[in-house]
Amino acid sequence: MARLRTSDQQAVEEFFNACYPRLAGWVRRLVDDDETAHEIASEAFTRLLARWSGLENPQSYVYMIATNLVRDHWRKSGRERNALRVMTAAGPVEPAYHPAQDVDVRALIQALPERLRSPFLLHYYGGFGLKEVAVMLGRPEGTIKADLFNARARLKAALGDARE
């Protein structure tokens, strides 16, 4: 199997150096620990490099893969259910939400339906524009816009409930 050409190798290295830290940081905010974040980011890059020459937008691809891996991690760890239990158990005296901690918003994002969660993560967290997210998810731009609105509304309502 031929290896990547030298120019491709340089491009990969530049892309890795530019993208990995932010991607891993992005994942870190969605999972609990640095080790898992590195595992997911590394796996996303591994899959990216295995298909490098056939991709038009490697950044979209690697974020899409990472989003799916994060989702799988949540599912496997069962953290979604646990986090939801924490949320519903939050009492009125001690608000569940604290800006310095990600866990509550993260738990709510985990609980979003898949169709709302992916665009939310990619747009607000991955920094992709509406058009890019629409292409990545294969949905019309208007649908993405509506999904983002609905996701925000759900999060806001849930956070409000948790603080009352």
């Binding site: 830290p21 932010r22 590195h38 591994t46 899959r47 599912r75 800006p99």
Partner: protein
């Protein structure tokens, strides 16, 4: 400006703290990517090598094809042996620049479904695993079967297609996707065509054609496995699963499922908007959802929990909603057909038809048959006792019977109903039912139907032309 700050904004405004890669990460990633790429490429490389070898071995055959009056060229098995060279590729099949590099092998594979014949014959020792029939655009139907070519194809990339324009009387070769048979998360085993042009090969990977054959394009399923796919002329739906089954049992050990859609010719799939509880359908007892599309372009999905979802299968599409609860839940998928667990089959004819199967003594099942106009309410119309395990249900509208006709395949044979599931009789299978029975049965219309034996090594499917009463073997040969 509001004094109350949006808590979502608070969270989003928190900058992502970059996380530097551990030393040596890129080298490790490159190493893993190379290994992965090598594994993926090994399938294709071996397949291409056989194509080239076959091309070298058959120069006389190929040159003979250019002679006027030559009508029956021996061709090739799917990806492993070349169909005749097309000297003037049609505009719709002109290769893109990125495909030019593969021209040497792909140009020999440019065969398509046809209302007559592709001019080629299927590969020898064809092992069929899935069959599909669709309208040919002129009031008739065209069929296609996917499977693995037997010897002399001895590589891991022997996936092949055959087409028929006379309902199985004769078969011709059609270019297949360059993919191995099903193995874990890769390969294909199933086939659906929405029309003469648009089709999908799937299970567990996914390939699409907009030309009735060559070229096939791999489609991204975002890491999911494609468990089921149904298509109308306007829209296709697929059940994607998170599954961990190995080998040919790619649909086993699934933890969740989701419903996705695309249009014929579409290059991407998007998740269907469904009630949030069904966004990721959890698998219970390894049950897999059942998907059908009715003649009025409405799609129905029986979820693992027994809920019925419904939505438009039109070009415009739209969200799917919960319309009711079925009388039973889907059972575990059984690639062998041998299961003692309760199972269910769903079909769409004049009405929705559901078979709820309960194990009985001495290796029998009792199948209770229910009908529903829209999936909301169900009424039992009949029941039957079958030897072996029910595997597949089909229904079709009939001009002579308002309730339509139906057929139920089992691991021992086929039962048919001329009155929409009220009464059932054993079908006559010419030469007796094959050992292992049938894994699939489908009625294309009130008279014509096709069934796939569970034992693919027989190299044949079975067809009926009398509404399911009698079935004859249709060997996948030229």
């Amino acid at each position: 400006m509001s004094s109350t700050r949006d808590p979502v904004d608070d969270w989003l405004d928190t900058e992502v703290t970059p996380l530097s890669p551990p030393p040596g990460s890129l080298a490790l990633i490159r190493q893993r990517a190379r290994r992965r790429k090598t594994r993926q490429a090994s399938f294709i490389a071996v397949g291409c090598a056989v194509v080239l070898a076959a091309a070298v071995a058959t120069p006389q055959v190929i040159s003979a094809l250019s002679q006027p009056g030559h009508h029956s060229p021996p061709v090739a098995f799917g990806n492993s042996s070349p169909p005749p060279i097309s000297t003037s590729p049609s505009p719709t099949t002109r290769p893109t620049p990125s495909q030019e590099s593969n021209k040497a092998t792909q140009i020999k594979q440019r065969t398509h479904l046809s209302t007559t014949s592709s001019g080629t014959v299927p590969p020898p020792h064809f092992l069929p695993t899935s069959v599909t029939f669709a309208g040919n655009g002129t009031g008739g139907v065209v069929g296609a079967v996917i499977g693995q070519a037997g010897p002399p194809c001895a590589t891991s990339v022997c996936t092949s297609l055959a087409g028929t324009s006379n309902y199985g009387q004769t078969w011709y070769g059609v270019s297949a996707p360059v993919a191995p048979g099903p193995s874990g998360s890769s390969g294909v085993s199933q086939l659906r065509f929405a029309s003469l042009r648009y089709g999908w090969a799937y299970g567990p990977a996914l390939y699409e054609t907009s030309h009735g054959g060559w070229p096939w394009q791999h489609q991204d399923t975002y890491g999911y496995r494609v468990i089921d796919l149904e298509a109308s002329p306007a829209r296709a739906f697929a059940v994607f699963g998170t599954c961990y089954g190995t080998g040919a049992d790619y649909a086993a050990s699934c933890s969740s499922f989701s419903l996705w859609t695309s249009v014929p010719g579409g290059k991407t799939w998007r998740q269907v908007s469904v009630p949030s509880a069904d966004d990721q359908m959890k698998s219970t007892s390894s049950a897999a959802p059942l998907l059908v599309i009715s003649g009025d372009d409405t799609g129905y999905l029986l979820t693992p929990s027994g809920e019925v979802l419904s939505g438009p299968a039109t070009t415009a599409g739209g969200p799917w909603t919960a319309v009711g609860a079925a009388k039973c839940k889907p059972g575990p998928p059984s690639t062998s057909g041998q299961t003692a667990q309760p199972t269910a089959q769903l079909a769409a004819g004049p009405k929705l038809m559901l078979a709820c199967d309960t194990p009985a003594a001495n290796g029998h099942f009792i199948a209770a048959i229910y009908n529903s106009a829209n999936g909301a309410t169900w009424k039992q119309t009949g029941s039957l006792r079958v030897k072996g395990t029910p595997t597949s249900l089909t229904a079709a509208s009939s001009a002579s019977a308002a309730s339509g006709v139906a057929a139920l395949a089992t691991t021992t044979g086929i039962k048919y109903s001329p009155d929409g599931g009220t009464s059932w009789q054993a079908a006559t299978v010419a030469g007796n039912s094959p050992a292992g029975g049938f894994s699939y049965v489908g009625m294309t219309n009130a008279s014509q139907g096709v069934a796939v034996p569970a034992n693919a090594s027989l190299g044949e499917v079975y067809v009926t032309n009398d509404g399911g009463k009698t079935w004859q073997a249709s060997p996948i040969t030229g």
